[in-house]
C-alpha cells in the first residue's frame, strides 16, 4: 500500500488497538514490536514551521510533558512532504545549546554582562527611548512642514519575527517617529 512513515505509524497505532489489522495486509508482529519502542509513543504532535529559508517546511514536534522529544519533517505538508535539509533536520538540537536565557545588561565601559529582570530591563529601555525621543523628535523641517520624525533612533529586524510581530514592530516604530527602519529584506 502507498503510505508514508507517519501514516504508517498512525495506522499501526490503530492496529495495536486491534481495530484495523487488515489495513496493512502484512504480518503485524514486528511492527507492533517497533511501535512499542518508538521514542515518540504517547507524545503530542504539534506542527511548527522551520525557522530558516522561505520554503517554510513544516516540522512535526513530538512533545511529552512539555518536553521536546523529537522533530521530523511533516509528511502531509504538500511542499516538503516530510523532507528536511540539514538546518531543518537540526531543529531539535537548536533548542538545547548555548541559548540566551535571561535579560542581560552591559553598562558603559563594563567588561562583562550582568543578569537583570525583564521588569528592570524594559523600564530602563523605556527610559532611554523617552529621553532621546523627547529631546530629538523633529516636529517641523526647514520648510516649516510637520514631519514628527525621530532621526537619531533606529529599529532594524527581523525576518525571524512572525507577521504579527512585524506588524507590532512597524506600528511601534512609526508611533515613536522612527524613520531609520530596515531588516534582512535589504541584504
Amino acid at each position: 500500500m502507498d503510505c508514508n512513515r507517519r501514516e504508517f505509524i498512525k495506522v499501526t497505532g490503530t492496529g495495536v488497538l486491534g481495530l484495523s489489522l487488515l489495513q496493512l495486509g502484512v504480518d503485524i508482529t514486528p511492527v507492533q514490536a517497533y511501535t512499542a519502542t518508538l521514542k515518540t509513543t504517547g507524545t503530542k504532535e504539534i506542527v511548527t514551521v522551520c525557522p530558516f529559508c522561505s520554503v517554510s517546511c513544516h516540522i512535526v514536534a513530538s512533545v511529552r510533558n512539555g518536553k521536546l522529544i523529537s522533530t521530523e519533517g511533516d509528511p502531509e505538508y504538500p511542499i516538503n512532504e516530510g523532507a528536511l535539509c540539514a538546518k531543518g533536520a537540526a531543529l531539535f538540537t537548536m533548542t538545547l545549546d548555548n541559548r540566551l536565557q535571561k535579560p542581560m545588561y552591559r553598562a558603559a565601559g563594563a567588561t562583562r554582562w550582568v543578569e537583570k529582570s525583564w521588569e528592570w530591563t524594559l523600564e530602563q529601555i523605556a527610559d532611554r527611548v523617552k529621553k532621546v525621543r523627547d529631546k530629538d523628535l523633529i516636529l517641523k523641517n526647514d520648510k516649516g512642514q510637520t514631519v514628527n520624525r525621530l532621526e537619531s533612533m533606529f529599529f532594524i529586524g527581523t525576518s525571524h519575527a512572525d507577521n504579527e510581530e512585524c506588524a507590532i514592530a512597524h506600528q511601534m516604530s512609526r508611533g515613536l517617529g522612527i524613520v531609520h527602519i530596515d531588516h534582512q529584506a535589504r541584504t
Binding site: 511548527t48 505538508y77 538540537t93 540566551l100 552591559r106 565601559g109 527602519i181
Partner: protein, 807 residues
C-alpha cells in the same frame, strides 16, 4: 514569487541564475528534479559549479556582475529569431505602446540624465496618449518608436561576441542557453526563472530582475503554471516582514512612506493613487486610499476620525529623496548622529557590507537593545577582538528571544502561503517572543507619556495597543474589522466582525486592516485560514498542484498572480494540459482569478496585469530610477576598465557613502585583480549567529574557506588546505584555501580574470572559525533598493605566514 514552490514541477525549462537553490533552498529542488525527470531542461548560470549545477542539465559559468549582458544577449536572440510568444506580447505587454518621441538612449545613458546630480529626469520615459488619455499602440509592432522596436534596437548591441567577451561565457554556451530557454515561447510550454541574492546584491540588482521579467514577458511565461519570476526568498519570514514593511521606504501593504510634502491624507492620496482613463484597465492601485485609511484605523482605533485625517498627521514624514536604509544608517552612526536603537533577530556586524565600518559605527551609540537567541558578533560587539571594552561607552541591553518552536503565529513563505506555526514547548529559561517585548515596552512608554507628557505624546497614546501580546489577536488585526455595522456581498456584518476580503475595505474609516494584502486570511465564515491543512483539490487544480485549501495565500488565496495572462483573450488556457484558470459557462474555474471580471475580449473584461496602472506587462519599465531598459554596467569594483556596450563603465546612479572607511579600488586595479563573490551554506543561516551555535551544523561546516581555481592557486603558490589572507582596500580576512575545479578562470576581453568565492557566515564569537568575510565588501548599492553590492568586489589573495582567526 509570482508562483509557488510546488508549481516548479510544472516547468519545461528552468533558468536558475543568481541562486544556488539546491544548497540554499534544498527542498525547492525536489520540485525542480520532478520536472527534470519529466523532461524539463535545467540551466544553471552561476560563477561557481555547485550542487545545483551538478543536478542541472548544464552549468554555464559567468563572471559575477555580468548578468544583464548575458540576459540582454538573450533578449536580442528571442527578438531576432522570433522566438517570442507573439499573441501574448501583442495583447498583454506594452510592446505596442508608442514611447514619447523625446526618449532616447545614447552611449550608456538614457535621456534626461543630470550628471551633476547623478539623477535622471524621467519625463521623457513616458508613452504617447491618444485624445481619450489611453496609450497609443501599434499592434503590428512596426512603429520605430514603439516599445518593441526600441527594445530591439537597444539590445541589438548585445551580440554573442560582445556578451562573451565581457561575461567570460563562451559563445557556444550562450547560444546553448538562449536556444534551450527560448523554446518555451510557444504558449504550450513554461519556463521559470529562479533567482536569489546572486541577482539582488549588485549595483544593478533591480535591473537584473527587470531583464528577467522582460525575457519572461517575451516568452509568455508570466502568470502561467511552471512560469514566473521567482525570488527564492532566503530568510525565515522575509516575505511577511516585507509585506509588513520593516523598511524605511514603505508602510504595510506596499504603500509608500509619507514624505514631508504630503502633509494631509488628501496630499498623500493625490500623489500615490494612479489614474487610468482606459476602461479596460483594472488599475488596482486606485484602491490605495481604502488601504491607507484602514491601516490608520488599525493603528489609531477610535482616535482616528475623518475630521482628524485618521491621525495621518501624527505619522513621521521623511524628506523626499533622503535614504534611511542600512547603508546610510550606519554611515550616520559612524558620524555620531545616532543615539540609540533596536537590533532584533539579525547580526549586522557580520552580514552588512564593510563590517569593519559597521562595527566601529556601533561603538558611537549611547545605547542599543539587541534581541537574540545566542550571543553573536552584534550582541557582543563591545568586546570584539582588537578593542578595549573599557573604552566602549555604549550600553547594551540583551533580550533573550524565543525560538520559532517556542511561540505561535504566522509566517509567509516565498510563494505567499501564510502559515500558522503552533507553539510546541515553552521558551527556554526566561526567553520571550519579540511580541512580548515590544508590546511590554510600548505599554510602559505609553504610561510614561500619559503621566509625564513629553514630545508629541499623542503619536503613542492615540495608538490602539493591547495590554499583553496574544498572537492571534494580531492575526485578526492584520486581517481587519468592520468598525460599523455593514453589508457586503449580500451579507450583514456587525461592528467588530472580521472583514471577509479587501474588496470590503473602505476609505471612510468604517474598516480597519494592518496590511490589506492579508485581508481574507481570517474570516467570520471560515476562521483562521492560515491553520488549514486540507490537501483537497479539484482534478484541474490537482494536475498542477495548486493546493488552494492548504493554509491561505495572499492576495485572496490566489496561488499564481497575473493568472489572467494564462488564458487567451476569450478565457481559454494557452496550455489546456496545464490550465490554471478557464472561463467556463460564464464563470472562472481553477485558481482565484486576478479580479472577478469576464475575459479580456468581453465588453466588461480587463487586461491581465492589474497592478500596472495601464494593465500591461512592462517591457518598457519607466518606474525604475536608473532606466526603462536594463543596460550592462560593471560592478563598482571591476577588474576591467572598459566594456563593449558603452563608455559608461559602472551604473551612473549607484549609491555610495564616503566615510574614511569607505575606500574603493579603482577599475582594473593591479593591486586587487581578483573578483570576490560571497555565498551562504546549506548548514548555516546568513551571518551564522544562530547556526554556529548548533554543534552538529558547526561540525558539518566548521570554518571559513575560500574556493579558488587550481590555476590561481598555482599562480599564488597556494596548496589546498593552506591558510591564506584575502585582502583589499577595506579589510583583511583569514581563510583556508579550498583549491577546486568548481571555480574556473574566466577569459574576459582576451585576458584571464580569476574569481574566488567565500561563505560569509563565520564570526569571532565562535571559537577560531574565522571572522566576517564582509570586512571585504563595499558600501555601494543599487539606486532603486539600496541593496549592497555584496556579490562582486576586488581583492587579492596570498598564502598566510600565520593564522590568528582560524585554527
Amino acid at each position: 514569487m509570482t508562483n509557488h514552490w510546488v508549481d516548479l514541477k510544472n516547468a519545461d525549462a528552468f533558468l536558475i541564475m543568481g541562486s544556488n537553490a539546491a544548497e540554499h533552498h534544498p527542498i525547492s529542488f525536489k520540485w525542480v528534479m520532478q520536472a527534470k525527470e519529466k523532461g524539463a531542461v535545467v540551466i544553471h548560470v552561476d560563477p561557481k559549479f555547485s550542487r545545483t549545477s551538478a543536478r542541472s542539465s548544464f552549468h554555464v559559468p559567468l563572471r559575477s556582475g555580468t548578468d544583464i549582458a548575458f540576459l540582454g544577449g538573450m533578449i536580442k536572440y528571442i527578438v531576432e529569431k522570433e522566438k517570442y510568444f507573439k499573441d501574448y506580447v501583442v495583447e498583454y505587454t506594452n510592446a505596442s505602446f508608442i514611447v514619447n518621441k523625446d526618449f532616447s538612449f545614447n552611449d550608456g545613458l538614457f535621456s534626461g540624465f543630470d550628471s551633476q546630480a547623478r539623477k535622471y529626469d524621467t519625463k521623457t520615459w513616458s508613452f504617447e496618449m491618444d485624445e481619450t488619455g489611453v496609450p497609443k499602440k501599434d499592434k503590428t509592432l512596426q512603429d520605430p518608436h514603439c516599445v518593441f522596436q526600441l527594445m530591439k534596437n537597444h539590445y541589438s548591441r548585445y551580440t554573442p561576441e560582445k556578451v562573451s567577451a565581457i561575461t567570460g561565457v563562451s559563445p557556444e554556451n550562450l547560444l546553448k542557453v538562449y536556444d534551450a530557454y527560448s523554446a518555451t515561447g510557444v504558449g504550450t510550454k513554461a519556463g521559470t526563472v529562479m533567482y536569489a541574492l546572486g541577482w539582488t546584491q549588485h549595483t544593478v540588482g533591480v535591473q537584473n530582475i527587470r531583464a528577467a521579467c522582460m525575457v519572461q514577458l517575451l516568452l509568455g511565461n508570466i502568470g502561467i503554471p511552471g512560469g514566473g519570476v521567482n525570488a527564492l526568498r532566503g530568510e525565515p519570514n522575509v516575505q511577511g516582514s516585507t509585506d509588513h514593511a520593516l523598511l524605511y521606504n514603505s508602510i504595510p501593504g506596499y504603500l509608500g512612506t509619507p514624505v514631508a510634502d504630503w502633509q494631509t491624507i488628501a496630499d498623500y492620496n493625490k500623489a500615490n493613487t494612479p489614474v487610468s482613463k482606459d476602461p479596460k484597465s483594472a488599475n488596482w492601485w486606485q484602491n490605495k486610499p481604502k488601504y491607507l485609511a484602514s491601516l490608520l484605523k488599525g493603528w489609531y482605533g477610535e482616535k482616528a476620525t475623518a475630521d482628524n485625517d485618521f491621525c495621518y498627521g501624527l505619522l513621521p514624514k521623511v524628506e523626499n529623496g533622503v535614504d534611511y536604509s542600512y547603508m546610510y544608517l550606519f554611515d550616520r552612526m559612524l558620524q555620531g548622529k545616532m543615539r540609540g536603537g533596536f537590533i532584533f533577530g539579525l547580526n549586522p556586524m557580520n552580514s552588512l557590507a564593510n563590517s569593519n565600518k559597521a562595527r566601529a559605527a556601533m561603538d558611537k551609540l549611547d545605547w542599543v537593545v539587541v534581541s537574540e537567541l545566542h550571543h553573536s558578533e552584534t550582541t557582543d560587539n563591545w568586546r570584539r577582538p582588537g578593542v578595549d571594552s573599557k573604552k566602549i561607552k555604549t550600553e547594551y541591553f540583551l533580550l533573550p528571544s524565543a525560538h520559532r518552536i517556542e511561540k505561535e503565529g504566522t509566517v509567509t513563505n516565498s510563494g505567499r502561503w501564510t502559515l500558522w506555526h503552533h507553539k510546541a514547548i515553552e521558551p527556554m529559561g526566561q526567553a520571550k517572543p519579540f511580541g512580548f517585548m515590544l508590546v511590554g515596552l510600548m505599554n510602559i512608554l505609553r504610561n510614561k507619556y500619559l503621566k509625564q507628557g513629553g514630545a508629541l505624546p499623542e503619536a503613542l497614546t492615540h495608538q490602539d495597543w493591547p495590554k499583553t501580546y496574544v498572537p492571534e489577536d494580531w492575526t485578526k488585526r492584520i486581517n481587519g474589522f468592520f468598525l460599523t455595522d455593514a453589508k457586503f456581498g449580500g451579507k450583514e456584518y456587525k461592528k467588530g466582525q472580521l472583514v471577509p476580503t479587501f474588496g470590503a475595505l473602505a476609505a471612510d474609516g468604517s474598516t480597519s486592516s494592518l496590511c490589506w494584502v492579508y485581508t481574507g486570511s481570517f474570516t467570520e465564515e471560515e476562521g483562521n485560514k492560515t491553520k488549514r491543512r486540507d490537501a483537497k483539490q479539484t482534478p484541474m487544480q490537482e494536475k498542477i498542484g495548486l493546493f488552494p485549501n492548504w493554509a491561505w495565500c495572499w492576495p485572496v488565496n490566489r496561488r499564481i498572480i497575473y493568472n489572467r495572462a494564462s488564458v487567451d483573450p476569450t478565457g481559454k488556457p494557452w496550455n489546456p494540459d496545464k490550465a490554471l484558470i478557464a472561463w467556463q459557462d460564464g464563470k472562472w474555474v481553477g485558481d482565484v482569478p486576478d479580479g472577478p471580471w469576464p475575459p479580456m475580449a468581453d465588453k466588461d473584461g480587463k487586461y491581465p496585469f492589474i497592478m500596472q496602472s495601464m494593465g500591461f506587462g512592462a517591457l518598457f519599465g519607466p518606474g525604475r530610477v536608473d532606466g526603462p531598459f536594463p543596460e550592462h554596467y560593471e560592478p563598482v569594483e571591476t577588474p576591467v576598465t572598459s566594456h563593449p556596450f558603452s563608455a559608461q563603465l559602472s551604473s551612473p546612479m549607484y549609491k555610495s557613502v564616503s566615510s574614511e572607511l569607505d575606500k574603493l579600488a579603482k577599475p582594473g586595479d593591479p593591486a586587487y585583480p581578483i573578483v570576490l563573490t560571497t555565498y551562504s551554506l546549506t548548514e548555516h543561516w546568513c551571518g551564522g549567529g544562530e547556526t554556529r551555535n548548533v554543534p552538529n551544523l558547526l561540525e558539518a561546516e566548521p570554518g571559513l574557506y575560500v574556493e579558488m581555481s587550481q590555476e590561481l592557486a598555482k599562480e599564488k603558490g597556494i596548496q589546498n588546505g593552506d591558510g591564506v589572507i584575502v585582502e583589499n582596500v577595506r579589510g583583511r580576512v583569514e581563510a583556508i584555501a579550498m583549491v577546486t575545479v568548481r571555480i574556473r578562470p574566466f577569459t574576459v576581453q582576451g585576458k584571464t580574470v580569476h574569481l574566488i568565492g567565500m561563505p560569509f557566515c563565520y564570526g569571532w564569537t565562535t571559537h577560531k572559525c574565522g571572522d566576517a568575510t564582509n570586512r571585504l565588501t563595499p558600501s555601494v548599492a543599487d539606486p532603486n533598493t539600496t541593496i549592497y553590492e555584496l556579490k562582486a568586489c576586488l581583492v587579492n589573495v596570498q598564502k598566510a605566514e600565520k593564522l590568528t582567526e582560524i585554527v
